[in-house]
């Protein structure tokens, strides 16, 4: 279920991407954080207890929104724009 709610800029072109292997839809100009959190409610599991996290500062400071791309690169979801066909994977974090 979505965490964020879109209030404006709704008529941007759609962008198809893949989230955890499933097709997903975002809007052009979305950050990965927006794209993901408009369909799911977490971006990653925390490192030491796999608690759900969904970012915090949205300005590249808190480092709590890293996600993985298909080529193995990992990026901050809040400061990376979605691109068509991107394959984004959420990392589950580690159970203690």
């Amino acid at each position: 279920m979505a965490l964020l709610k879109r209030l404006a800029e709704l008529d941007r072109p759609q962008v198809d991407f893949v989230l955890d292997g499933q097709p997903a839809i975002a809007l052009q100009g979305d950050t990965l954080l927006t794209a993901l959190l408009c369909s799911v409610d977490a971006l990653k599991g925390s490192d030491f207890s796999a608690e759900p996290r969904a970012g915090f500062c949205l300005m590249g400071a808190c480092q709590d929104c890293w996600v993985r791309l298909e080529d193995g690169r990992r990026v901050r979801a809040c400061s990376t724009l979605i691109e068509p066909g991107m394959q984004v994977t959420r990392e589950p974090g580690r159970q203690p």
Partner: protein
């Protein structure tokens, strides 16, 4: 106002050597004052790589390393914590046939030291350590070596010494060392003064000044090992790892962070050091080749420290040749963490018994006497 502390032994330097000397002196019933300019274990002893490694040390260090090994085996008994010590094994990789021959020679030469080295071929590595990159063609494994957290362990030696009654003075810089008859008179910050018949010089990279004061100049220079740590990653690196010929070493802690060292940083000033971009980029490249699982991971901190290096990369351990009651223990060339506790024990032994049961002759300060001439 100047308080005078009269004691048996004054130790200058609260790194792992000085702090363990304090601990082992207390065990032998001596009164000890341990003086540290910063916090105990906050300099090289606390910021080193954390390798608890015998493999790769020169033969002359192995008796000390074995003695240290026994202390490490009962770490909680000595300092009350396990300090994240893991006997992961130490894997030394060969990246060429020539390197492999060098590992084979080392194995042959060190059989008497009970390290149980195991030589591994390329297939063994692929099977047992699939996380090692293709550039490794062979390796030597020391199964009982490992790694630990120096940030926790080095301060804990001072805490343990304190618990046994050592007087520990942190954030107390030594201002002056003078003679008072046969005794030493040490003046430190805040007007503190100490008087004792024994003085241990455990001041690490800053120890040469005191040696010089007593007519024993040593050609020590400062080195600054470059170090970095990754964010927490899924555990893959099951051994502490180095390469023959040096250049890079790595370990992964239980929390998942990989600590990677290699190359040199630079000095910001007399006390502080830092890693530059060249060293970081080189380390990143080498590390991804050697450990492909690091692809996509991030470095979250880099650091360096200030370590004392003598030209032969061997420490100075033992009695001063010029001043009765002065004992040196410094200059570990970046390799003092594992043997540090044994050196502390040896220094205590020298003070209390007049001799070390572990051979330390190769580390005598006398080897630099030509420097004085």
């Amino acid at each position: 106002m100047s308080a005078l502390v009269e004691t048996d032994v004054v130790i200058i330097g609260g790194g792992i050597v000085g702090a363990s000397a304090a601990l082992f002196l207390r065990r032998r019933g001596m009164e000890v004052a341990l003086i540290e300019r910063d916090y105990c274990g906050s300099r090289s002893s606390g910021v080193n790589f954390g390798g608890v490694r015998r493999q790769g040390r020169p033969l002359i260090q192995l008796p000390l390393a074995q003695r240290a090994h026994a202390i490490w085996n009962d770490l909680p008994g000595h300092i009350g914590i396990d300090g994240e010590l893991v006997r992961s094994g130490h894997l030394k990789l060969a990246r060429s046939d020539e390197d492999m021959r060098s590992l084979e020679r080392y194995e042959a030469e060190t059989r008497g030291f009970d390290m149980g080295l195991e030589l591994l071929g390329e297939d063994d590595i692929r099977r047992r350590y699939p996380w090692v990159g293709k550039s490794a063609v062979g390796a030597s494994l020391c199964p009982a070596d490992g790694h630990a957290n120096p940030r926790l362990i080095s301060p804990a030696f001072a805490v343990a010494a304190k618990r046994l009654g050592a007087h520990v003075y942190e954030q107390t810089p030594v201002v002056r060392v003078e003679d008072a008859g046969d005794d030493f008179l040490v003046t430190a910050g805040d007007g503190l003064r100490f008087r004792a018949p024994w003085l241990l010089n455990c001041a690490g990279a800053w120890a040469a000044g005191l040696a010089l004061q007593y007519g024993e100049p040593v050609p020590m220079r400062a080195g600054h090992p470059a170090m970095l740590v990754t964010e927490p990653l899924p555990v893959f690196m099951t051994c502490s790892t180095g390469v023959e010929g040096g250049g890079i070493y790595a370990r992964q802690v239980a929390r998942g962070n990989c600590v990677i060292g290699g190359g040199q940083g630079f000095a910001l000033d007399d006390r502080r050091a830092r890693v530059d971009q060249q060293a970081v980029v080189t380390l990143l490249r080498q590390a991804t080749t050697l450990f492909p699982s690091l692809h996509g991971a991030h470095v979250i901190r880099t650091w360096s420290g200030t370590e004392g290096y003598l030209p032969d990369r061997q420490p100075v351990i033992g009695f001063s040749r010029m001043r009765r009651g002065l004992v040196h223990g410094f200059g570990f060339a970046g390799g003092g963490f594992q043997i540090g506790p044994a050196v502390g024990d040896v220094l205590a032994e020298l003070v209390c018994e007049g001799a070390s049961r572990t051979p330390i002759e190769p580390f005598s300060i006398q080897r630099f006497q030509h420097v004085a001439a």
